[in-house]
Symmetry: C2
Subunit: 145 residues, 2 copies
């Protein structure tokens, strides 16, 4: 059991979009280059995010993508649910077994994870990234490069 790569790409892309100035857009071309992906492939993931209401796209010359929700309201879970879907990880394999107690325990544990992910916001990661980058630059300067 693993998260899909698409979720991985989506999370990284979203964090990056959050570091951009409000109302500025960026094309899939640039976004794809950063992660060594083909634009067409990343495009599909972005379309999913757009349908999920997390980002919005504008076609045409000055078009591209930008975040379409208040920047501090986007949780990890929002992105994951949009890309992976929101069905449960465990479904009882037995027939005629509604109310399976194993399933109940499994789903309850999963819910703990989801609750946590719904309280972790991408904007915090974006801020940390920006801080980290400025530190790196400062560090390089100090090393005499």
């Amino acid at each position: 059991m693993k998260y899909s790569k698409a979720t991985n790409y989506a999370l990284h892309t979203m964090v990056y979009l959050l570091t951009l100035p409000r109302n500025s857009t960026i094309g899939v071309q640039s976004l794809a280059e950063m992660q060594n992906l083909s634009p067409t492939y990343l495009s599909k993931i972005l379309t999913k995010l757009a349908k999920g209401g997390l980002i919005e796209s504008t076609p045409g010359v000055k078009g591209g993508y930008k975040v379409s929700k208040p920047k501090d309201e986007i949780s990890f879970l929002d992105v994951i649910k949009t890309v992976e879907g929101d069905s449960n990880l465990f479904h009882c394999s037995m027939d005629h077994n509604e109310g399976c107690m194993i399933e109940r325990v499994m789903t309850e544990a999963e819910q703990n994870m989801k609750d946590d992910l719904d309280n972790k916001f991408l904007i915090d990661i974006a801020h940390d990234m920006e801080e980290k980058n400025s530190n790196t630059i400062k560090g390089k300067a100090n090393e005499g490069n």
Copy 2:
């Protein structure tokens, strides 16, 4: 992202094994029938559980499987880790990105789920099942069957 069917079968089998009297064994044939599986297929899952130290097998005529740990010490996580492996659900897709903050958040949330699953014990499900079964029988009797 989903749990494998093997995990599903393993959990159900383990719960059933816990309902059996101590030191009694049961063959893969019977276990497979209950879940409508082929014996050879379930056998592979059981072998995994045996290698993981959760059950033990004895070949030969009066052989079969039985639980090989104290019955109240087997957690959901024990079974899951044995069948699914214990690697993390999320691994950062970017190169040269040790300490990825997204990965950190994702893994922390996953850990919450695992902590929960490590504190839920199969023996409790087994007890509930036994109670449920006796209730069902009682219920049927009351209905005049």
